[in-house]
């Protein structure tokens, strides 16, 4: 099951040239770009691991593309996303966030039913990948 998280996630995977264009756009707007990775695909998993510091004083996308390449090299089977942070007063939040890497196999989620008191049933999802410990999931 293909995970859809962040911007462009219903489009085919972005090529490097397309990623670079998005980065150029972010930099032109003065947004700081950062890279994060994880191997927990749950949609509520908001806090991913940071790959290096957010890049605040970068002028050209080439440097970020280099960082993405080295992150992919270290975590070839993780989810990797690129965030663009807008530091404008009053905004101070992400303006753009999209996946640039995903595992080759994504087993998807199991539906878990929990019987409550009476006839109540609570539902939740659990990623099949999360049955194994962190770092061995994909």
């Amino acid at each position: 099951m293909r995970i859809t998280q962040g911007t462009f996630s219903f489009l085919p995977e972005l090529t490097d040239a397309q990623i670079r264009k998005q980065l150029e756009y972010s930099l032109a707007n003065g947004w700081a770009v950062s890279i994060e990775y994880t191997d927990d695909p749950h949609p509520r998993n908001t806090y991913w691991e940071m790959f290096g510091m957010p890049m605040f004083d970068i002028r050209d996308a080439a440097g970020i593309m280099g960082e993405i390449a080295s992150c992919r090299k270290i975590f070839p089977r993780h989810y990797i996303k690129v965030n663009a942070f807008d530091a404008t007063r009053g905004r101070e939040s992400l303006r753009l966030s999209f996946l640039v890497n995903r595992p080759p196999q994504e087993p998807g989620f199991a539906l878990v039913r929990e019987e409550g008191p009476g006839r109540a049933v609570r539902y939740t999802t659990r990623a099949y990948a999360c049955e194994r410990p962190e770092g061995e999931r994909y």
Partner: protein, 311 residues
């Protein structure tokens, strides 16, 4: 189609040949002329430097034109070395160079990142590589200016981390030519030794530009240019005094060409301000405010030492 068959055979080759390339138009469109003109206007002296930069700009423009015909000679090596004494305008020229390269499309952003050894070399094992990479990342798309580059290499200490920075630098200079141009700067002699002991670096630096010292007349012209930008002017006597000051200052230790002149003018401004402040009862005119008098310059330490020698 008909037009081609109608032409006489002698005109045939002309038709098949592409339209002559418009060098003038390419030059105008790149707007590099403006930068070169302002280089000529704003920088006093430095004739050999200006000539070399014109040459490089011409080469790059022609290369670009050749590229449009598919006569590509590969990405040209643009890394440079600026050698010369302090205050001869290396950083200023590097900034202009970044602009020229940007206008010609050889660097994408055209900003200048000026660093020294401290910004590249770490303090403990494993600290250098991330630090150097961080700087390189910042400089991508522009020009990396390494001032006093010879400090990177310390032959007397074989465990010095500078070598590591040089190696990373080399790798990027070679593999990411289209992303980054590196300019090394420093004293002529020490740079020569530096390049001599790092042949890999030397062979990747295509342009060596030497910055000559300024003559006294040029320094005076620079002083006038600086004062003009600050909306000051020299009285006639002060002009002579400044000339004498330059002559004396040249022979003293730690003379840093234009930088020494800037510092001297800053101090003269200080003295002018306190001179005006002293007589604050009297009315002050606009002329008073913008004129630097002889006394402001004559009060310098340089003249005092000269007097001391005579006695």
């Amino acid at each position: 189609m008909n037009a081609v068959t109608d032409t006489s055979p002698s005109e045939g080759p002309e038709h098949s040949a592409p339209a002559p390339l418009d060098l003038e138009r390419a030059y105008r469109e790149s707007q590099v002329g403006q930068v070169l003109d302002s280089l000529e206007r704003d920088l006093v002296g430095l004739a050999p430097v200006k000539r070399r930069i014109r040459d490089i700009a011409a080469l790059l423009l022609i290369d670009k034109l050749r590229g449009t015909l598919g006569l590509s000679a590969g990405a040209p090596a643009l890394h440079m070395s600026f050698t010369g004494n302090p205050g001869t305008g290396k950083t200023t020229v590097a900034m202009r160079m970044a602009e020229i390269l940007h206008r010609l499309g050889y660097v994408r952003k055209g900003h200048l990142v000026a660093v020294t050894r401290d910004d590249l070399v770490g303090q403990y094992i494993g600290h250098t590589a991330p630090k150097t990479r961080e700087v390189l990342k910042r400089a991508m798309g522009g020009v990396l200016f390494i001032d006093e580059a010879y400090y990177l290499y310390r032959p007397e200490n074989e465990r010095d981390y500078g070598q590591e920075a040089i190696e990373i630098l080399l790798q990027v200079m070679e593999n990411q030519r289209e992303d980054l141009v590196v300019i090394f700067a420093g004293y002529k002699q020490r740079m020569d030794t530096f390049f001599h002991s790092n042949p890999g670096l030397s062979s990747r630096v295509a342009h060596h530009i030497d910055f000559p010292d300024y003559s006294s007349d040029e320094l005076l012209a620079i002083a006038h240019l600086m004062l003009e930008q600050l909306h000051y002017r020299l009285s006639a006597d002060a002009d002579a005094a400044l000339r004498a000051y330059i002559e004396l200052r040249r022979d003293q230790p730690h003379f840093a060409n234009a930088r020494s002149i800037r510092n001297a003018l800053d101090r003269a401004r200080l003295r002018q301000a306190s001179r005006l402040f002293e007589r604050r009862g009297a009315p002050i005119t606009r002329e008073d405010l913008e004129t630097i008098e002889t006394a402001d310059i004559r009060a310098s330490r340089v003249f005092a030492e000269e007097g001391a020698h005579e006695h």
